[in-house]
Point group: C2
Chain length 336, copies 2
């Protein structure tokens, strides 16, 4: 798998990190790249990522002419699955497998049931595979907790926390968590719909469905984490009383009781970052990533690591629970 | 999957626990059971596990007459794959999938390469699937650590510890770790080959192979954990200076350096039980099951939970890394 020939759509900060990691690992080569942004399209990929191939970044999938060369595609464009539909459908219909970081694609049946069925149909017909993944959603608050239950006779409730220090996260992430906004701006941004971690509901339904639990109702909350001392972030200074980040929760009811509790908190200078899965179960389990998991490194990593297992799965729309185990693959340390 | 019709071979303590859990969960019914022990064969299963079916325990697979009724088989007979071969081959050749707790089957290519290939061939020909699993080997020191690497760009080394308090474990487990033996008896038992946790080497090779790492050399150590105060276990009293349990390690070299370090310690009254995966990786990861994972409950659970994912996999010999995600399935809380 160290000679993967990839199509990559979406060369924003995450996309560029994936390109850099692909290069660092020598995992494969990008033989086609697409990005709509006028400052990106038309340039050789090697200008954006020194050392990458010289393919010119195309402004549309319609310009791709070397489909027969492509082993798999990476799509890192939007959190909103509806905005990704045309792109995903186009690639899948060419018989090319897609791994995407689209948060809503991690459990697309929550908000886009009909769309999910369309994409599944296209993939099955064309013999291609589709997966949404990332560190969260896609792993820490769904796929990993589900795999933790493998050793349980029974599970009564699931509590999952992701508490992270956003200080070293990429700029779009710091923006998405509202860092630096006044409380009024924070509320306005929630109203505009762009300030939030996307995926808590997807993770909740991923876990519930994997355990066979019907979700009778669920709800989300969102509020700012306010700075209690002056802070700095990549977007600028954060005065006391302004938002250092966001706190979101989700709860799900199954069998008449709250069985699913999710807590996501990401803030600049957050103390005690960690990821934790607590199961009221037989046996009881308490699983902690001490120090947490750095999101940007991890999302790029899991997108690349998921390609090989996805290619070995049957055609259709997949989740992290329906493909073989995703593991780190690094050609630099692997057997030749 | 709540109407599974099972064949079960091996009704020792683990087998009986699995039967009890199957019954508690209402996961299915045992339509055929086999055990060689003269005090078990011939009796109705319901005499061994109150509430279970009334099928008479057979003394040989040759007596099974209802193959067409059987959805899957559970084999809990021996840690030694060579001793399981006839049984596994017989069932697989009937087109029936097998989940086994046989420790060596978790990574059979380590000690039984030719046998593994024979079983794989039989399963492929007959359209059946074979999996070796358990909490350890099968999960804590192999499948889970491998899945932890999913979010890593690169991994330089893996350190895995399982430190457990054996006080509440089943009698054969306490015996296998040498609880109550004098140091001389402990050494003699090692020589006789029955005193050891089986599977550390299998776990090491499972992890290395999943990461693509060639294992150039590896070694194991084994020594007693000596009681420093008088202890009691299910086998009797343990005087000071006698073995409270066992400590085993395994190390593997890849790329010329020790990259894999495994540590297994199980003793009566062991303090601070836990399971831990430490990765020198990008990002660095430190994953801990706080308080550890109770082995008997967990092994029975994972054997039962693995049946459905195994049945959805292609025919052949599998590992925990090649089947879809194993998760807890409990018909009592699942959607009807």
């Amino acid at each position: 798998m160290s000679n993967l020939r990839l199509l990559h759509v979406g060369l924003g900060p995450l996309g560029l990190r994936i390109q850099q990691d692909l290069l660092d690992k020598g995992l494969g080569v990008t033989v086609a790249a697409v990005d709509l942004a006028p400052d990106v399209a038309g340039r050789p990929l090697s200008q954006l990522v020194p050392g990458a191939s010289n393919v010119r970044v195309l402004s549309s999938l319609d310009e791709v002419s070397n489909w027969e060369e492509i082993d798999a595609a990476i799509v890192t464009t939007s959190s909103d699955l509806a905005k990704c539909e045309t792109t995903l459908a186009h690639i899948l219909s060419r018989g090319v497998a897609v791994v995407s970081s689209c948060e809503e694609l991690v459990w697309p049946w929550l908000r886009h049931k009909a769309l999910a069925e369309r994409l599944d149909g296209i993939a099955r017909n064309a013999g291609s595979q589709l997966l949404g993944t990332g560190v969260n959603p896609g792993y820490l608050m769904d796929a990993l907790p589900v795999f933790a239950t493998a050793v349980c006779k029974s599970v009564r409730s699931v509590r999952i926390s992701r508490i992270q220090d956003a200080t070293s996260r990429r700029v779009p992430f710091q923006k998405k968590i509202g860092a630096g906004l006044s409380p009024a701006q924070f509320q306005a941004a929630i109203g505009e719909g762009w300030l939030r971690h996307v995926g808590l509901g997807e993770s909740l339904h991923f876990v519930a469905n994997s355990l066979g639990w019907p979700v009778e109702s669920w709800k989300e909350t969102i509020e700012p984490v306010l700075a209690t001392k002056p802070l700095q972030c990549a977007l600028g200074p954060i005065p006391v009383g302004y938002a250092a980040g966001v706190r979101q929760t989700a709860e799900g009811v199954s069998g008449g009781v709250v069985k699913l509790r999710f807590e996501f908190q990401a803030a600049i200078a957050q103390a005690n970052p960690h990821d934790r899965v607590q199961l009221e179960s037989e046996p009881p389990l308490d699983l902690v990533f001490q120090g947490g998991v750095h999101g940007d490194v991890a999302t790029s990593a899991i997108v690349l690591n998921a390609i090989a297992p996805l290619l070995s799965a049957r055609p259709g729309l997949h989740t992290m629970a329906t493909i073989p185990t995703v593991a780190c693959f690094d050609p630099r340390t692997a057997a030749k």
